[in-house]
């Protein structure tokens, strides 16, 4: 069996083993007098992507498939495009 660790050794280097286990994502089996007495199981990372990263990735994918060629000033001209050129109506 892999990752077998003696209880004395595990206690003395507890944080080292916790770190190794987390890093490799593997279970550590703890023994005493060659008998299995327990094990340490690291919490697996969910691996869930942040929603902002996912959103930006999704938009990037859309841009590859459907590039928007709106020119340099589109974000500043939304009202003008949708509602027409503003006329001076205020005194």
């Amino acid at each position: 069996m892999n990752n077998l660790v003696n209880i004395t050794d595990f206690r003395s280097k507890l944080f080292d083993y916790v770190e190794i286990s987390k890093k490799n994502g593997k279970e550590i089996s703890i023994t005493k007098d060659k008998e299995l007495i327990g094990w340490f199981v690291p919490i697996k990372k969910a691996g869930k992507k942040d929603k902002v990263d996912k959103f930006l990735d999704d938009i990037k994918s859309l841009q590859k498939k459907y590039p928007i060629r709106g020119g340099k000033n589109l974000s500043q001209n939304i009202d003008k495009i949708l509602y027409g050129k503003k006329e001076k109506i205020f005194d």
Partner: protein, 144 residues
């Protein structure tokens, strides 16, 4: 400790992000990265969605439906679907009194003030009015 307010996003920020040619494209990316660090939610008004979808469809952008779906699928934005209009509203007063403010801009400003949210916009005129009104202590009644 002051609670971080939720953002309400304007169409200018979204359009800058969707359009890689836009002068404000990089600023839009940076804005979203900042929001990620801040761990703040973003709300979008149905009126803003209507504006964006109308613009993309009117400009005949391919895939406008797909971009539109990303706005309303709930994965990134909290969609605010309700708006009741009243002539006593701040937004109506704003649109009458502020020359450079459009109706949607005014509604977004009012929504932020009413819900203690922060406006996220690249529209200079809208941002100017928002800054004038955005304090938690201000009496939002306009000076007549």
């Amino acid at each position: 400790m002051v609670k971080k307010r939720r953002y309400l996003i304007d169409s200018s920020v979204i359009m800058a992000l969707f359009n890689e040619e836009d002068r404000q494209y990089k600023k839009a990316i940076e804005t979203f990265k900042r929001i990620k660090k801040e761990k703040r939610d973003i709300k979008i008004s149905c009126i803003t969605v209507i504006e964006l979808i109308s613009l993309m469809k009117y400009k005949n952008f391919n895939g406008w439906q797909k971009y539109g779906e990303k706005l309303i699928d709930g994965s990134m934005f909290i969609l605010d679907n309700g708006y009741i209009f009243d002539p006593n509203d701040l937004s109506w007063n704003l649109v009458i009194k502020k020359e450079k403010i459009g109706m949607v801009d005014a509604i977004e400003i009012e929504h932020c003030l009413q819900n203690d949210e922060e406006l996220l916009t690249f529209d200079e005129a809208q941002n100017k009015v928002w800054k004038e009104l955005d304090t938690r202590k201000i009496d939002i009644k306009l000076k007549k």
